[in-house]
Structure formats: structure tokens, C-alpha cells
């Protein structure tokens, strides 16, 4: 249930709340689901990105970076637990 809420809240927040709140929720969701920052950044850019504003879709790139970091941290923690 926690994982489901961690996935749903950032995606809903992208439609309803300011993007700063969405970023905070996505970072919090990364503790439970490492791919949520990527999904949230991708959704923000799908909804609001316009090529004339910035060269690259920033939130997708930042989300991918945070997801990679979250996956690396998670794998390290799992390795520690099993060893």
C-alpha cells in the first residue's frame, strides 16, 4: 500500500500542486520506488515542456539522474544486508 501511494502521489501532484511539491514527493517516493523520480520528471515534461523554453527536457534528465542514484544506493544497501 505504501509503495502504491508513493507511486500515485507524485503523479497526481504533477497535475494539481506546484511543481516544487511534486519534486519533493518524487524524492520521497524514491525511497520506496527508485524509478518514480524518472516517471515524475517524464510526466512533468510530457504535460508542460515546450521546446522553445529549454534545449533539453530538464525534469526528465534530473529524474533519470535521481533514479540512477536511488538504484545504486538501493543495490549497495541490499549488498550490505546480505553480506
Amino acid at each position: 500500500m505504501t509503495r502504491l501511494m508513493a507511486c500515485v502521489l507524485p503523479l497526481v501532484s504533477a497535475l494539481v500542486f506546484p511543481w516544487q511539491a511534486t519534486v519533493v514527493l518524487a524524492l520521497g517516493a524514491a525511497f520506496f520506488e527508485p524509478l518514480m523520480p524518472l516517471a515524475t520528471g517524464l510526466l512533468l515534461d510530457v504535460l508542460y515542456y515546450v521546446p522553445q523554453t529549454t534545449l533539453w527536457p530538464r525534469f526528465t534528465l534530473f529524474g533519470a539522474l535521481v533514479s540512477v542514484v536511488a538504484l545504486v544506493v538501493r543495490s549497495r544497501l541490499r549488498t550490505r544486508r546480505t553480506s
Partner: protein, 276 residues
Amino acid sequence: MKKTYLPRRNALLTVRELSWGARAVLLVCAVALVRFALPNVFMQIAAPFLGVSASVARASHAVINSFSSTAEQAAENERLREENVALVAENARLTKQSSQSVVETNVSTTGASRGVVAQVVARPPVGPYDTLVLDQGQSAGVSDGMEVFSSGGVPLGVVTGTTSDFSRAVLFSSPDVQTAGWAGERSVPVTITGRGGGVLVAVLPRSANIMVGDFIYVPGPGMLPIGVVARVDGDATSPAVTLRIRPLSNLFSLGSVELRTTGVGQSVEFASSTAP
């Protein structure tokens, strides 16, 4: 003998093994596919959801205001009225100036077309790029390059993308968007740069003597005010100062805007070239 049951493993990953995060990514990818393949259909589906943010904001304002005292609200109301009167007077003066300059340049105003009124579907700060999503598109006569005005006639941005029933506009405050304009009563030429979140800045020589409270103008037609200098930053030894500009219109509470063809889109530079 105890039999060990081993479930048959498929060479491809089964759906049951996907995490919730992976499913979210796949879902968003499907949404992205719809946006790029069928942009108008995507906007028709997304518009009601994007409008939820405005409803939530209005409801939260009502709740927050219910805690304010009546006296505070009355004082705020009076201050806003005075500000509005000043702006109306300024607008009238500028309109007169604009009409005079139009006559001098022999540009006919009789053929000026009326604008297209559009409702704002999505606005900052929900959207992170300082863009507006509007509910009028090509079918209503909206085209790329049209300028966006608030209900008070304040220029806000430029239309950069249209579908059949919707359009997107980039605000002057969008990050790295540069707009040519003027500052102060002496109409000092200035390049206004957006910083996101409704913030505008401009860098000028200190000798221009731009003070806090001076208006910032952009073309379209004549000189139209878009903001007021809220702060002047600069080292005492530096020959240049940075103007922090407060927009005249509250970008976070826009309800409807007007779209007009003014030709100002040519004076706005974007960070990247126009891409499909």
C-alpha cells in the same frame, strides 16, 4: 517423496514482476506517445485534469482567507483598489502615447483585428517552465507568434505551439527567454531575461539611472508596461546593475487571456531553435 514444484519461467519478464515504479514509467511513456502522435487528442483528454489545479487553488484561497481578519482584508482591498486606479491611469497615458506614435509612423489602426479570448487551462507554478496552456487553437484563429495579453492589457508572452483546439504560450518570465524592451521614463533600451517563476531581470549600465518603481516596457503596439523595477542590485564598484522586475500581472492566478497578432514575436529570442 516430496515433489518440488518449480513454476515455469518465461524468457520474457512477466508483468507480475514489474515494480510499481516501472509500471509508472511505462504508463507515462504511453501518455508521451499520445502527446506526440495525437497532440490535440492528448490536450482534450488532459485539459480537465490540468484544470483541477485551478479549482484546488481557488478552494485553498477560500480556506486561507477565512482565517484572515476583516480589517486586514479591508486594508488589502483598499490598497489593491488604489493600485488598480494608478495602473488604469498609466495605461490610459500609454495608450495615448501609443496612438500618437502609431499616427506618426503612418500605421493604420482601423484594420486592427480583435484578439482571441482564451481561458487558461494550465499556468505556473503547477507547470515548471512558465508556460500557459490555452483552450483556443487553430480553429479559433490562433497561430504561432501571437502575443498573449492579460485581461488588463499587460503583455505576458508569445504563442509558440498550436493544435486544432489548444495552444501553448511561453511567458516572458520563462527561463532564458530574452525580450527586447525599454526601461524607465527615458525609454532606455534593455534586454529582459526570464528566470522562471514569474521573475524577470535586466542588466543595465549604472549610468542609466533606473530606480525602484520605474516601469519596464515591451513593444506591442507602442510601448506597453509589463513590470515594475522592484529592486536594483549591483556592486558599488561595478559599472552595471541588475534590475529585479516584478510583473504587473499575477501569473499564478490568470483566468483568461487575449491573443493578438502584434509582430512582437520577432523581438523575443528563445534559448533553442524552434523544434517540432
